[in-house]
C-alpha cells in the first residue's frame, strides 16, 4: 500500500518527462510526420482543490481533457483513459490572471524628449503615416492581438509566479487600442489567444509620440475629451474629414471594457472625471499611493488594478543624507504596502497585477507584504482570478476550476499564501509547466541500502533529508557526500574519523543526535567508497568503487517517507505604521484632526475693512458659520472663540491674481492656441506651497496657465483649504477665466540659440501674435455662427414636428467653445503682457472683434498705456518692483501700479511666484513707497482689487457682514516688513495658526526621527537599501523668470514630460 502511494507520487513527478505533446493539433495545419493525437486526459486525485476564492474541496479530484476541465469534485471516479496523478497533500488552485501585462508585445520605442526641450525644435505635427488622426499619441487603431507573439522567456517568470492568463496590450500612447487575453502556454498564437479584443486602453503618457501636443497633463485630458467628441461627430462620416482610422477605431472600441492607466491617486480622479463626462466607467490602473485618498478612490465607483510595487528603503544612516529625504518619501515607503489592503478595507473592487514590479519574481514577496499589511487571502485570490476574469468577460474560460473552463491550475505544496508553500506546477490549457520539480520532495525519507562488495553485502540505513543532505549509518554514523536531483544519485562515504565520533554513541546502529549530518562541506578521504546510481521510483540501483578500487553494485529501497513538520505558519503581527495625513504632506492633518469652521470673534484690533468705513481702530470682527457676521465695536457672541486683537491688525485674506501653485501642470505649449485646456483638470492639493502661502495670509489664489502660447488654458481660482481634495479646493461659482500671453514667451525668445530664434512654432514675432489672435477669434465667430444656424434650423424643425435627422450637427470644438464663451462674456481673459505696443494691439483687436481683456497681468508697461486700458475697461495686475531680467521688462518701473491706479484702473499686485506670494502684503507696501498711494489703497491691491478682477468681490476681498470668512490677523501693521500672519482663516476655518504651526513642526520632526530610526533598523536587519535620494520638489512657473526657491526645487520646465 505504502509502496503504491509512493509510486503514484513519483509518477506524478515523472509525468513531466513523458508529456511532450501540447495542445491538440490545429485542424488546418498539415502535419510533417505521423499523426499523434492525444487528449491530455488526466485525473488529479486526493488533492485539496481551491475551486475559487470561496470554495475549497478536500480530498478532491480534478479531471481535465483536451486542455479543459472535465470535472471537479469529491467522489469522482477516475475516468477510463485518463492518467491518474496522486496529489495527496497537495493543493490545486486556478492559475492567476494578470490584467495589466504587456507579455508578448515588443516594447514600444519611447521618447525622453518633452514638448519643448530648449535647443530642440518641437515636432508640431504627427509623424505617423497613413489615414490616421491628427495626434500621434492617439493610437486606438492598434490591436494587441495582431502584434502579439508567444514568448517563452517572458512567459516563464509569469507562470512561475502562478499566472496562467494575462491581458496584454501595447503600452504606448494616450489611447492605446485594444488588449487581448492570452494564456501563458507556449503554443502557437492561434491557440493561446483567448479573446482577441478584450479591452480598450488609455493612459496619461504620450509614449513614443514626439508630437509637441499635448505637453501637459491638462493637454492630455483635453485631447481625450476632444477625441470623444470627434469620434461621435465622425460617426456621420463627414466628407471633409475623409477616412480617419483613429476615430473609427475609437468608436469601435467603445463597447469593450475601458482601462485607464492613471498610476496616481489624483490622476485616477482625473481619468474618472473624463469617463464621467462621456458616460464611460473606466477600470483604473492605480499606482502606489491610493491609500492616501482612499475615500476619493471609492467615490469613483471604478474597479482598480493595483500594482504591488513599493519604494525601496533608503539608506538614511548619514544624517546629512537623511536631511534631504522628505517626510513624505519616508512615509510613503512605510505605507505603500498598505495600498492593496486599503482598497479591500474601503470595499473597492480591485485586481492585482505584476505591472510596475521591478521584476516579476518579486511578486510573491510583494504580495505577502501586502498581506502582512492587511490584505486578506480571500481578496488576494479573488483579485488574481475572478475579478479580472469577470471584468474581461472571460470568467467562462478562466478564473476558477469549473468544468468547461480551461485547465489552468497550480499545484502547490500547501496553502498558496503560506510563506513556506512551493508552487510545483502551473498547468495552462492542460499543459504542465514545472515550476519546481517535486520528484525530490517525494523522494525524501529513509532507505535501506545494500552494497554488494567482494567481501559480501553491507547494509546501511539512509535518511535522506534533501538533495544534498542525508544521514548514513551502519554500525556507526558515516562521513558522507551526497547528491540527488530526483533522478540521478551520487553518494560517497567513509568511516568517520575517530575524533568526530560521538562519545559512547554509535553502538547498535543507534541514531546519533545532532551529529554526523553528512554534507558536502565535510571532506572525505581519497579512499572513500563512491556510489553512482539512478532512482527507479521506490528503489535506487547503481554501481560503485570501494576504497580499494573494487567495483561493486548497490540497491537502496524506500522504507518510509520523511516526517513533514506540521504546517503552522507563525502569525505575523500587523506592523506598526504611521498615519495618513491630509494632504499627504508635512503639516498635513491626520484623519479627524482637520480644522473645522468655527465661530470666531477677534476683539479690539485695527480693522482694515476695505469698505467705506475705512480703517477702524479698536474694533471687532465676528465670523460665524464660515461668513463674516459683523464688523464693529463691542461685538459679542457667546458661541464664538475669542481672539485678542489688541495691538494687531485684521484684514481680508490676501488674493493672489497670478499663481502657479497646486497644479500638476501649468503650460500646454504644444500649440499656439490651447483654449481647450483647463487648470481645473489637474489641480494638485499636495503642494506644500498652499500651506506656506497661508502662512503669509493668502486665502485665495488664481491658478493660471503659463505663458508658453498666445491663448493658453482656462484658469482656476482656488481657496487655500489645506487638506482638501482637488474638487474642494475650487472657489465655487465663479466666472471662468482664461490665460492669454503676448511677447517674448509666446514667440519663444527664451529658446533662442544665439541670435537665431530656433523657433518653428508660429508666431515668431509680435506681428504674428496679433494675427494668431485675429485668426482665433475669426474662427470662433464663424463657429459661433455655424452653431447658431444649426440651432435655429433645429428649433424650427422641432417646432414643425419634423425630423432633425437631415441636419448635420457641427463638430464641437473645445478650443472654440472656450473662445465663444469669451465672445459671449461667460469667460474672461487675463493676459500676460508687458510692452505698450502689444497691449495697444490687443486692445485694438478686441475692440475690432468684439471681446474684452478683463485683466492685463504682469503689464509692466501698463503705465505707458493706462489711459487706453482704462478706456477698454481692463483691470491691471502687476508686480511691484521686478525688472531687468529680460528685454521686454527693461522699461518696467515700480511706479507702474501707482500710475495705473491714479489713472483710474483697478490695480492688483500679484506674485507669479510661490515665494513672493507669502509676502504679498509687503509687495503692496512698495506701492506706497514708490508711488505714494495711500496705505488703504495699497492693501486693496492684494485683497479687494484682485477680488474685483476675478469677479468675486461680492464674496471676498473686504471685511463686510455677509462676505466669506476669509480673514487674516496680523501681528503688526499689515504693510510692514515686521508683520506676520498669526491666523489665516478661510471660510471661518483657521487653516494657519502660528502657534499651532510650531506644534506641527515638532510633529514633523518627531515623525521624521521615527522613520529614520525605522529605516536604520531595517538596514541593520539586512533589508537592502538604496542610497538616500534627495526629495526634489517640482515647481511650475510661467517659464518667465528665475527665483531662489532652494536647492531641491526644480522648475517644471526643466523636466521632460512624457
Amino acid at each position: 500500500m505504502r509502496k503504491t502511494r509512493l509510486f503514484k507520487r513519483l509518477m506524478f513527478a515523472l509525468a513531466f518527462f513523458y508529456l511532450t505533446t501540447g495542445l491538440h493539433a490545429q485542424v488546418t495545419f498539415p502535419e510533417n510526420g505521423i499523426a499523434d493525437p492525444r487528449h491530455g486526459h488526466y485525473a488529479l486525485t486526493n488533492a485539496t482543490i481551491v475551486k475559487d476564492a470561496t470554495t475549497t474541496l478536500t480530498n478532491a479530484t480534478l479531471v481535465i481533457k483536451d486542455g479543459k476541465i472535465v470535472a471537479t469534485g469529491t467522489n469522482i471516479k477516475v475516468p477510463a483513459g485518463s492518467v491518474e496523478i496522486d496529489c495527496r497533500g497537495k493543493y490545486i488552485y486556478p492559475s492567476f490572471i494578470d490584467i495589466y501585462a504587456d507579455y508578448g508585445i515588443a516594447a514600444p520605442r519611447t521618447t525622453t524628449t518633452g514638448a519643448f526641450t530648449p535647443g530642440q525644435q518641437p515636432q508640431l505635427e504627427t509623424a505617423a503615416k497613413g489615414p490616421y488622426g491628427w495626434n500621434e499619441a492617439i493610437k486606438c487603431d492598434v490591436d494587441a492581438y495582431k502584434v502579439f507573439t508567444v514568448d517563452d522567456a517572458k512567459a516563464k517568470p509569469l507562470r512561475e509566479a502562478g499566472f496562467g492568463t494575462v491581458l496584454s496590450h501595447v503600452r504606448d500612447g494616450i489611447a492605446r487600442g485594444t488588449g487581448a487575453v492570452v494564456s501563458l502556454a507556449t503554443e502557437k498564437e492561434n491557440l493561446v489567444i483567448l479573446k482577441e479584443k478584450a479591452s480598450a486602453h488609455y493612459s496619461f503618457s504620450k509614449g513614443s509620440s514626439r508630437q509637441s501636443y499635448p505637453g501637459s497633463m491638462m493637454g492630455m485630458i483635453a485631447l481625450l475629451r476632444q477625441t470623444y467628441l470627434d469620434a461621435q461627430w465622425y460617426k456621420n462620416k463627414p466628407a471633409k474629414e475623409g477616412l480617419n482610422l483613429s476615430l473609427q477605431s475609437w468608436t469601435d472600441n467603445q463597447g469593450l471594457p475601458q482601462i485607464f492607466e492613471a498610476n496616481d491617486k489624483w490622476n485616477n480622479l482625473r481619468a474618472d472625471r473624463i469617463g464621467d463626462e462621456f458616460g464611460v466607467q473606466y477600470i483604473i490602473k492605480a499606482g502606489a499611493n491610493e491609500y492616501q485618498r482612499i475615500k476619493e478612490m471609492k467615490a469613483t465607483n471604478a474597479t482598480f488594478i493595483v500594482p504591488l510595487n513599493y519604494p525601496q528603503a533608503q539608506d538614511v544612516e548619514d544624517p546629512n543624507d537623511a536631511r534631504f529625504v522628505s517626510l513624505i518619501d519616508m512615509k510613503h515607503w512605510e505605507l505603500a504596502p498598505t495600498n492593496a489592503a486599503a482598497f479591500e478595507k474601503a470595499g473597492i473592487p480591485f485586481c492585482l497585477t505584476t505591472a510596475d514590479l521591478r521584476n516579476v519574481n518579486q511578486f510573491w514577496t510583494s504580495l505577502r507584504k501586502a498581506m502582512e499589511y492587511g490584505l486578506s487571502e480571500e481578496k488576494a485570490m479573488e483579485a488574481l482570478t475572478k475579478t479580472p476574469a469577470t471584468l474581461l468577460g472571460v470568467y467562462n474560460q478562466v478564473g476558477s476550476l469549473e468544468p468547461g473552463k480551461l485547465a489552468n491550475f497550480l499545484i502547490a505544496s500547501g496553502s498558496l499564501f503560506n510563506e513556506k508553500t512551493t508552487i510545483y506546477q502551473n498547468w495552462i490549457q492542460g499543459i504542465k509547466y514545472v515550476v519546481k520539480d517535486d520528484a525530490l520532495a517525494n523522494a525524501l525519507g529513509s532507505y535501506s541500502l545494500s552494497v554488494n562488495t567482494p567481501a559480501g553485502t553491507e547494509t546501511y540505513t539512509l535518511d535522506v533529508k534533501s538533495g544534498t543532505t542525508l544521514t548514513m549509518f551502519g554500525k556507526d554514523t558515516l562521513n558522507t557526500k551526497f547528491s540527488h536531483d530526483g533522478k540521478m544519485v551520487k553518494l560517497s562515504y567513509a568511516p568517520m574519523p575517530r575524533r568526530q565520533r560521538p562519545p559512547g554513541g554509535g553502538e547498535g546502529g543507534q541514531r546519533p543526535v545532532g551529529m554526523g549530518r553528512g554534507s558536502a562541506d565535510q571532506t572525505l578521504p581519497a579512499s572513500a567508497t563512491r556510489l553512482s546510481g539512478v532512482s527507479n521510483g521506490t528503489e535506487w540501483n547503481g554501481t560503485g568503487t570501494d576504497s580499494l578500487g573494487n567495483s561493486l553494485t548497490w540497491t537502496a529501497i524506500f522504507v518510509k517517507a520523511g516526517e513533514t513538520k506540521p504546517d503552522t505558519p507563525r502569525k505575523k503581527d500587523v506592523p506598526v505604521i504611521g498615519k495618513v495625513m491630509y494632504p499627504f504632506e508635512p503639516f498635513g492633518w491626520e484623519e479627524g484632526q482637520q480644522p473645522k469652521a468655527e465661530n470666531i470673534l477677534i476683539k479690539n484690533a485695527t480693522v482694515w475693512t476695505n469698505e467705506k468705513e475705512g480703517i477702524l481702530q479698536s474694533s471687532d470682527v465676528l465670523i460665524k458659520n464660515g461668513k463674516i457676521a459683523a464688523v464693529g465695536k463691542n461685538l459679542s457672541d457667546a458661541s464664538a472663540r475669542i481672539i485678542d486683537g489688541t495691538g494687531r491688525h485684521v484684514t481680508a485674506g490676501i488674493i493672489d491674481e497670478h499663481s502657479h501653485i497646486a497644479a500638476a501642470s501649468i503650460n500646454e505649449g504644444g500649440q499656439s492656441v490651447t483654449a481647450e485646456v483647463r487648470i481645473a483638470d489637474n489641480l494638485n492639493p499636495d503642494d506644500i506651497n498652499i500651506y506656506r502661502q497661508l502662512s503669509g495670509g493668502v486665502t485665495s489664489s488664481h491658478i493660471l496657465h503659463g505663458s508658453a502660447n498666445v491663448i493658453g488654458g482656462q484658469t482656476q481660482l482656488i481657496k487655500l483649504r489645506w487638506g482638501a481634495n482637488d474638487e474642494e479646493l475650487k472657489f465655487k461659482n465663479w466666472d471662468g477665466q482664461i490665460k492669454f500671453a503676448l511677447g517674448e514667451n509666446v514667440k519663444r525668445s527664451p529658446f533662442a540659440v544665439g541670435n537665431n530664434s530656433n523657433n518653428n512654432r508660429y508666431p515668431d514675432t509680435r506681428m504674428g501674435v496679433e494675427q494668431v489672435l485675429v485668426d482665433a477669434f475669426t474662427r470662433a465667430k464663424d463657429y459661433q455662427k455655424e452653431w447658431k444656424e444649426y440651432n435655429t434650423a433645429r428649433e424650427k424643425l422641432v417646432k414643425e414636428k419634423k425630423s432633425t435627422g437631415s441636419l448635420i450637427i457641427p463638430r464641437r470644438d473645445l478650443e472654440l467653445d472656450a473662445l465663444v464663451e469669451i465672445l459671449e462674456k461667460k469667460r474672461f481673459i487675463t493676459c500676460h503682457s508687458y510692452v505698450q505696443s502689444e497691449i495697444t494691439s490687443s486692445i485694438e483687436i478686441a475692440n475690432r472683434l468684439g471681446y474684452k481683456y478683463n485683466t492685463f497681468t504682469h503689464i509692466l508697461e501698463g503705465y505707458k498705456v493706462a489711459d487706453k486700458m482704462k478706456e477698454h475697461g481692463s483691470n491691471a495686475s502687476t508686480f511691484s518692483d521686478w525688472w531687468a531680467y529680460k528685454m521686454e521688462v527693461q522699461d518696467a518701473i515700480p511706479y507702474n501700479a501707482a500710475i495705473m491706479q491714479k489713472v483710474g484702473l483697478n490695480v492688483a499686485i500679484n506674485s507669479d511666484d510661490a515665494e513672493m506670494a507669502r509676502r504679498l502684503n509687503q509687495e503692496a507696501a512698495k506701492i506706497v513707497k514708490y508711488g505714494g498711494v495711500t496705505e488703504e489703497e495699497a492693501l486693496k491691491m492684494v485683497t479687494l482689487n484682485p477680488a474685483k478682477m476675478l469677479h468675486v468681490d461680492d464674496r471676498v476681498g473686504s471685511l463686510k457682514a455677509g462676505k466669506d470668512g476669509d480673514v487674516v490677523l496680523w501681528s503688526d501693521h499689515p504693510l510692514s516688513i515686521y508683520a506676520k500672519s498669526l491666523y489665516t482663516i478661510v471660510d471661518g476655518t483657521i487653516y494657519f495658526d502660528r502657534q499651532k504651526d510650531e506644534q506641527l513642526q515638532k510633529q514633523v520632526d518627531e515623525e521624521r526621527n521615527r522613520l529614520v530610526r525605522k529605516l536604520n533598523s531595517e538596514k541593520r536587519s539586512g533589508t537592502p537599501t538604496i542610497p538616500a535620494q534627495p526629495s526634489y520638489q517640482v515647481m511650475h512657473s510661467c517659464s518667465d523668470h528665475q527665483h531662489s526657491h532652494g536647492l531641491l526645487v526644480i522648475d517644471a520646465d526643466e523636466i521632460t514630460n512624457d
Partner: protein, 443 residues
C-alpha cells in the same frame, strides 16, 4: 506763451536728468555736516539727534553735541530722519549682467573650471541702468562677483557713483570665488503623476559626493602647486593662474565658497585647515545647522537670499527668515545679500528687515548689510559704519530703512559726495506723470 516756456523748461530738465546724464558727483571738499539725525552707526549704536562732521569725504566726528559753525559750510538738516551707513550688497552680478535673458548683455561667467585669474572688475559697467535703482534704496557699494563652475575668479568691491570701473573700484580682487559642486544625487523624474505615485526613488548612477570630492581635490592640487610655485623666487615659465592665487596665501584675498548644504560647507573647511585661507561661505542656506562650527573656525557667511523658500518641505516654513538669527546667536560674522534676479538687489534692506521679524534686532540686521559686509569684504577700514576716519558713505531716510513701509532715501553720500538719486525708473515715472497730468490732478 508762458505755458510753452514751462513745458520747454520741463523738457529740458528731463533731458538733463536722463540717466545717461546723471553725473557722478565731484569730490567733496571742506566741511559737511548732517545734523538733527537719528544716527544708526552700523555697529550697533543709535545716536538720537546726532551730528556727523565730514571733511574732504571723511568722517571727522560723530556725536550728539558737535558744534556746527555758522559760516560757510554745507549743512544737511536731517530732522526726524534716520541716517545710516551706505548699504553694501555683498554678492552681486551688478554691472556684469544688464538683462539676464539677453546673452549679449551678460559678462558674468567665463568658460572653464579653473579661472582664478579672471577678474570681475574689468567687465563692471558703471553705466548699467540697474546701478542707480540700487542707490535709490540706499545701496552705495557692492561686491561684484563672477559666476562659474569651481574656481570662477575674483570679485571686487565697487562704490556706486563712478565714471568707469577704475573709478568705481573700492577694493579690487579681494575675493576669490569657488563654486562648490553639488553633493546631492541628481533628480530623476518619470513624467507626470507626482505625489509619490511611482515606485519610489531610483538608484542614482554615480556617487555625487565622490564626484564632487574628486573635483575639489583637483582644486586643492591646484593650490598645492600654486603654493609651491609661489615659494620659488624665480620661475622658468610664468603661470598666470598660480600667480593669481598669491593674494589668498598672502591673506589679502579671501576664499568665497558658494555652498549651501552641510557637506559642502564642511568640505569647504578643508581650505582653512590645509591652506589657512580666510573663508567666506556664500549661500549658506543650511548654515544654521553648523553655526557653532563656523564660529569655531572663524568662517563668515553671506546669506545670499533670505527671501527664499525653505530647502525641504519639512523645514520650518520660515526657516530662511530665521537663519540670520541663528548665526547671530552663535556669534558668526555674517552678511545678508539679495541675489534676486527679478529685482536685482534693490530689496537688500528688506531682506534684512525680514530677519528682524524673525529674531534679529534692527541694529543687528543693519550690521548685516553694512559693517559685517564691510568686514567680510575687507573694506571695514573705510566703509560699513558711521565712525571717525571712515569714508562718508551715508544715506538719509525718512523712516526705518529696513521696512519698505517707511524706507524712503532722500539723500546719499559716497565719500562725502552728495550723489544724484535720479534713476531711469524715476524718470519714466516723471514722464508719464506728465502724460496723464497727475500732478495737476492732485496726486
Amino acid at each position: 506763451m508762458r505755458k510753452i516756456f514751462l513745458a520747454l523748461t520741463l523738457f529740458a530738465a528731463m533731458v538733463v536728468n536722463a540717466q545717461e546724464n546723471v553725473l557722478p558727483a565731484k569730490p567733496q571738499k571742506g566741511l559737511l555736516f548732517i545734523k538733527n539725525a537719528i544716527i544708526h552707526t552700523g555697529n550697533g549704536k543709535v545716536i538720537e539727534n546726532g551730528i556727523i562732521k565730514i571733511r574732504d569725504g571723511k568722517i571727522e566726528e560723530v556725536g550728539a553735541g558737535i558744534a556746527v559753525p555758522a559760516d560757510d559750510v554745507q549743512v544737511v538738516d536731517a530732522k526726524g530722519k534716520h541716517v545710516y551707513p551706505g548699504l553694501i550688497l555683498p554678492t552681486s552680478s551688478l554691472g556684469l549682467v544688464e538683462v539676464s535673458a539677453v546673452r549679449a548683455s551678460t559678462d558674468v561667467r567665463e568658460l572653464g573650471d579653473l579661472n582664478p585669474n579672471i577678474r570681475a572688475i574689468v567687465a563692471y559697467n558703471t553705466d548699467s541702468k540697474v546701478i542707480n535703482t540700487l542707490r535709490s534704496n540706499g545701496i552705495l557699494a557692492a561686491n561684484i562677483v563672477p559666476q562659474g563652475s569651481l574656481l570662477a575668479g575674483s570679485s571686487s568691491v565697487v562704490q556706486l557713483d563712478a565714471w568707469n570701473w577704475e573709478d568705481a573700484a573700492y577694493k579690487t580682487d579681494a575675493g576669490m570665488h569657488l563654486y562648490m559642486p553639488s553633493m546631492l544625487a541628481r533628480p530623476r523624474f518619470g513624467g507626470f503623476g507626482g505625489g509619490g505615485g511611482g515606485g519610489g526613488p531610483q538608484q542614482p548612477q554615480t556617487d555625487p559626493v565622490k564626484e564632487a570630492l574628486d573635483k575639489i581635490e583637483g582644486i586643492k592640487n591646484f593650490f598645492r602647486e600654486a603654493k609651491a610655485y609661489l615659494t620659488e623666487t624665480a620661475h622658468q615659465e610664468t603661470n598666470l593662474k598660480f600667480e593669481s592665487a598669491r593674494g589668498l596665501f598672502g591673506k589679502t584675498q579671501k576664499l568665497y565658497v558658494h555652498a549651501n548644504t552641510i557637506k559642502q560647507i564642511l568640505v569647504a573647511l578643508d581650505f582653512v585647515k590645509e591652506f589657512g585661507f580666510d573663508l567666506v561661505i556664500v549661500g549658506g542656506s543650511d548654515s544654521w545647522q553648523v553655526a557653532d562650527l563656523l564660529k569655531k573656525h572663524n568662517v563668515s557667511v553671506v546669506l545670499q537670499q533670505p527671501h527664499s523658500l525653505p530647502t525641504l518641505e519639512d523645514d520650518d516654513v520660515d526657516q530662511p527668515y530665521k537663519t540670520a538669527a541663528a548665526l547671530q546667536k552663535a556669534g558668526v560674522l555674517f552678511a545678508i545679500s539679495d541675489d534676486d534676479g527679478q529685482t536685482r538687489g534693490r530689496n537688500l534692506p528688506f531682506n534684512a528687515g525680514t530677519a528682524v521679524a524673525y529674531g534679529l534686532t534692527k541694529e543687528e540686521a543693519l550690521s548685516a548689510i553694512t559693517i559685517n559686509a564691510a568686514r567680510i569684504m575687507g573694506v571695514a577700514d573705510k566703509a560699513g559704519s558711521i565712525e571717525v576716519g571712515k569714508d562718508a558713505n551715508i544715506i538719509i531716510s525718512d523712516g526705518d530703512i529696513l521696512d519698505m513701509r517707511t524706507s524712503n532715501v532722500t539723500d546719499a553720500f559716497i565719500q562725502g559726495r552728495k550723489i544724484d538719486l535720479t534713476d531711469k525708473q524715476k524718470q519714466l515715472n516723471d514722464k508719464y506723470e506728465q502724460k496723464y497730468e497727475l500732478k495737476k490732478k492732485g496726486f
